[in-house]
Assembly symmetry: C2
Homo-oligomer: 720 residues x 2
């Protein structure tokens, strides 16, 4: 059984004889590909990787959005700097700016509480619940019923699972709903910041180097997981004790070399490897270009309304970074799609699938499924296009705040089990934190400018884009008139109470009547839009429900077709634990250009300008100039490796993933992919897909030679 | 005798075991480095390269600003596309746009005249005239006298040399005036365009790829040199016949590989390898940053005054390309200086030189020379700073036109031999062509905008920047006032006759009185500024004269010091024929990144977007897709090489240089350096200095498979 799903007919093979390995495998698939795992270099028994509570998988944890690992018997957790940066920021003040200086707890007493909402999730069990979720679901039902039935069953299963104290569970869909699994996770709530270098190490290169190689980012830091004296998850308390995980990773300071086996276990968020061509075309020809335009207008508006150096800019830096990151990603995806000829390749794939169906499975209804699937995709596309301007025109933060609060009041009318996901009792901690966090991310003048910008686009769009509920509630004129609309918005921000955190929190307990009789203009608007939004949601649920029938059928065709060709099919990423493996490997991103597999300490000197984001700490530069490599030097490189490349198949959510060697020892942390890789969410190109890791030898060198984090090195088990 | 002048103590040696070879050698130096030439791979006798009229040097010619080579017994000349692009443009019309379509003469009758002023210069002899130029020149003379004596002698020698009909001669200074050589060159005036691909091959990648690797530019084209029926240079005539050069290069289609010996003979323009530290500091800390600001203002002003799509923009495209090119170059130089630590390295060098002087030559007055040289450098720096704003404030094209014409009237008062260089009878053809060419590069509104922009900077500068002659002649107010200054400028452009070519040409014969009584405001201004400008020129000549004594002494110290260390010293580039040699070699421009030595046809497919400058002709793309490599494939590469890198030591002026293999056969044309190399004008960094060549196999493939230039292939002698 070969392991590659869609092997690329590479047109250009200059300077690279090896190809990256495609596949984000669920742990239970590993026995199926055990031979290749061994052939690639895994020394551990592949079977051992399927045991989520054994070594090494038991040491791999989720932070929700990032991946992390236990690296000591005392609950020490290693992850990316960018995954714990929010906690550094949360603890920083003008006098003690840990973002600049870095932070190192002198002892475990001195560890700082992580940012509100920080969690460590330890996956303890995975169970197939497909039969229970899908029982009696059929094409004879309407979409809304299908959707509501599935959602009700997922909520039931989760509620049962969460009877266990300290557990947080989820039911995840694989292969577009062909399979459902219950993921049972321990939820550790007391997480503390132990050590992180400053931004001038942990974020070295900043947005300029984001998604770029060569890279010299020390993107690592440490948390510790704490639990109650009884060993169970508990809120922060002085009585808490460090969590003692069943397994933790040893940290290698030994000689990882170009070509060596590596693997990463992590929680990749989302891929679209099985998207139909119609979805691909819509995405790359309409959605992404439109989104790029939208982002550019949004960014320009925020930058103008929140000039550099102002308090407002500080509040919007996170948003701007996110928008710019997304913008760069979409540009890379479009460029990547052009380079690999994504549409042509997808067309060829569909023709091959059709040919297989015709030859091998003419009687299984796949042809009809595909026709229905494509028709439904077209419906989804059309809905997105229809709602484009309206969706943007409601992007004001205070409006969405009002909408969420009013929706909560509606949901609170139902028994908890029937409430919409996100509005159940189990969601209220995060809901409350979101309402509190708004203060740190909101400025009325900027919010107004963004809203005005999008309302202008909405009002200048074709008349079909207009939504009567919005027009009437706001009293919008027929054509765009900045003065009139500006006055309407001014009144909203002048008269609203939603800018106050107490008001927002109070509204979490308010009854429907309070909203409906409110004279807060944002709440009035939320009430006025509710019916329209619910209608849209119902249409969306109908489409989702119908998709829950069609896509599993499509994936079944794919799996059978691929099996007939000798390939195993892995499911698209869905934020569940996956394993990807391959080797340390440079690459050729373009004809005539090559990426070396490692960067070195000297590359930091070379990049350093003394100005952010290339302003390495003087103590670090001094050690580099002195050639003080200690035991962390890679002889074949002549220096300490800083970052390295591999051909692992990853995407967003893998950040912080432990990179393991053949023996399951930690050799690095995955933190990024190259810009040429971002299109791999749609189509894995083995020539250009490369993930970027920070090397453990750099982390240990920095801790040992620069930051004096000797106690932590002592705490970990270092393999030399 | 080793050959490297200043060996770099490389701080970063990742991914590259070989180092580039420094040195732009004069042909007469080659016997001194013959052993290394042979060791590097030269198969020809190094001695043969010293014979400028023998093979292969007799085939290497200058176009004035570019280098070229004879490649057939019928005067066929190969050079870069960008070196003959002016001639393509000159012959293009809206209906026959050869810039877009390319041009191929069906037969020699159909060849097109090159742009006015195009010349082929064949160096026929070089003679040392140092004794004659420097006789009785001494530090006891004042600077102006020294300068005028040297200039008078140079003009004498040139005039004698040009007694030979059809010759154009020059006296060039080497080692800062330690040595003077008479360069005797045949000047062929009838040059015709034979073949050039379109911009979408010859300028593929455009400004985006300028100075960049990976590169895929087919930067080549062909002229033919024609002479009178008597074989002597003659103006264009139907009776002319192709020039029959004594030597021409064979063209290799054989297997040039990574690591193979290559050399280039060409006319590099200018380097500053021996500049003193004070000059380096002034350049990188004051002059370059100032110039970058100045260029940005200039570019923005032109772009605003000549919007895209206007006729005015077409006229200024050449200027904008030049300014942008310069801007990118300066940015690269500043970055390069930072990367190699230029100032520190120069300081170390000066300390080493001082130590040698103290130890080995304490009695030769070098220490005093260096002190005087540095003091004089400081004077030169100060003058440049003093005149910065005034110099820019007189950048209006019509003003410099008036100044040149008025100066000519002054010079015409003197016997021809005594006139300033550039204003002698021998210069009048180019002078007249310059006056004619203004029409193609001038638009009054743009010229006015540029002048206004620089006048604003001048008037907002510290009061010491103001020049009374300019202020009074223009009637400038004390402080900047756009309305008042704008009106002054409006009057200038409304009332001048210099916008008319006939007027400009007529003024070439006008007497001084006609200027002095003119009511043309630009001529009045030129007359008013004359005395001030002459005073500046006299001060400049005084400094130049004194420098003519000091710098040779400094260079003598350098040469002796270097000889004592076992190195040969080559003179800075000065637009005379030089030879540089090395190997085909990729490189590591930055830690973690590597340049492959070759690019391939497939890289064109990869880059191609269908939009300029990545809009390769469909016929070419089609041949690439078909894998139709013909006999031009490099097996080890699996494709036809398009461009390649080498470690040759080159600079501007080398463009078009024949790249020769060990047997002196043409394997490519040098056309650019990487952006990491531009700082090598100041300090040769063997790790990053790489020159970019278009491979003859690509040229032949394009001619054979795409453009159907079979007759030309037939005409050349191809080595397979």
């Amino acid at each position: 059984m070969k392991y590659v799903f869609f092997a690329l007919a590479a047109t250009v093979v200059i300077g690279s004889s090896a190809f990256a390995k495609e596949g984000m495998w669920t742990p239970d698939q590993l026995p199926e590909i055990a031979d290749d795992l061994r052939a690639t270099g895994l020394a551990l028994d592949p079977e051992s990787l399927t045991d989520l509570t054994g070594f090494p998988m038991g040491a791999v944890i989720s932070l929700g959005g990032c991946t992390a690992s236990f690296v000591s018997p005392q609950g020490l957790v290693i992850t990316n700097h960018h995954c714990l940066r929010g906690s550094i920021q949360f603890n920083s003040t003008a006098d003690n700016n840990y973002l600049v200086e870095g932070f190192l707890a002198e002892s475990s007493d001195a560890e700082l509480p992580a940012a509100p909402g920080t969690r460590v999730y330890v996956t303890v069990a995975v169970e197939d619940v497909t039969d229970r979720v899908r029982a009696d679901i059929g094409a004879d039902m309407d979409g809304v019923t299908i959707n509501e039935t599935i959602e009700a069953r997922r909520k039931d299963i989760i509620a049962e699972c969460e009877q266990q104290p300290g557990h947080r569970c989820q039911v995840s869909s694989f292969y577009g709903g062909l399979q459902y699994k219950l993921i049972d996770r321990l939820e550790i709530q007391d997480v503390r910041l132990v050590y992180a270098p400053g931004d001038n190490v942990g974020k070295y290169g900043g947005d300029i180097d984001n998604w770029m190689w060569p890279r010299h980012t020390g993107d690592y830091g440490f948390y510790r997981a704490w639990v109650g004296p009884d060993g169970l998850p508990a809120e922060y308390s002085e009585d808490n004790v460090p969590f003692e995980p069943e397994h933790y990773l040893k940290v290698s300071a030994a000689g990882l070399e170009d070509g060596d086996f590596v693997m990463a276990a992590g929680y990749p968020g989302s891929t679209q490897r099985y998207a139909r061509m119609a979805e691909v075309v819509n995405t790359f020809e309409w959605r992404y270009p439109r989104t790029i335009d939208m982002l550019e207008g949004w960014i320009a508006t925020v930058e103008e309304a929140a000039p550099e150096g102002t308090d407002a800019r500080i509040k919007y830096e996170g948003l701007l970074a996110g928008l710019n990151n997304f913008h760069k990603n979409l540009g890379g995806q479009i460029e990547g799609a052009r380079r690999v000829g994504l549409v042509d390749r997808r067309q060829q794939r569909e023709q091959a699938l059709n040919a297989w169906i015709e030859a091998e499975a003419p009687d299984r209804g796949f042809t009809e499924t595909l026709a229905q699937l494509d028709a439904l995709s077209e419906e989804i596309t059309q809905a997105a296009r229809d709602n484009w301007y309206y969706t943007n025109a409601t992007r004001a933060s205070l409006l969405s705040t009002a909408q969420r609060l009013y929706r909560l009041a509606h949901e609170r009318q139902k028994p908890d089990a029937e409430r919409e996901s996100g509005f159940q009792q189990r969601d209220m901690t995060f809901f409350r934190q979101g309402m509190q966090a708004l203060d740190r991310r909101y400025d009325p003048a900027v919010d107004r400018a963004v809203w005005l910008h999008f309302l202008q686009q909405y009002m200048n769009a074709p008349a079909t884009a207009r939504v009567a509920a919005l027009d009437e509630a706001l009293g919008l004129p027929d054509g765009w008139n900045e003065e009139i609309v500006g006055r309407i918005l001014d009144r909203h921000y002048a008269e609203t109470g939603l800018g106050e955190v107490d008001r927002r929190l109070a509204l979490m307990d308010a009854e429907l009547e309070e909203f409906e009789s409110s004279d807060d203009p944002f709440i009035q608007l939320a009430v006025a839009l509710f019916e329209h939004d619910m209608a849209l949601e119902r249409q969306s649920k109908d489409r989702t429900g119908r998709m829950s029938i069609l896509r599993p059928d499509y994936m079944e065709a794919i799996i059978n077709w691929q099996r007939s060709e000798g390939y195993a099919a892995y499911p698209d990423a869905n934020s569940t634990l996956r394993i990807t493996y391959g080797t340390v490997m440079g690459g050729s991103p373009r004809d005539g250009l090559m990426y070396a597999p490692f960067t070195t300490l000297e590359g930091i000197l070379e990049k350093d300008t003394g100005e952010s984001p290339f302003d390495a700490p003087e103590a670090q530069l001094e050690r580099i100039r002195a050639g003080d490599y200690g035991p962390y030097k890679l002889e074949s490189l002549g220096s300490v490796p800083v970052n390295f490349l591999s051909d692992l198949d990853v995407t967003g959510g893998n950040s912080g993933s432990a990179t393991l060697n053949a023996d399951g020892e930690l050799v690095g942390l995955l933190f990024d992919g190259t810009i040429e890789s971002v299109n791999s969410d749609w189509d894995f190109d083995p020539r250009t897909t490369r993930s970027i890791h920070v090397d453990t030898r750099f982390m240990l060198w920095q801790m040992d030679k620069v930051d004096g984090a000797h106690a932590l090195i002592e705490e970990m088990e270092i393999v030399r």
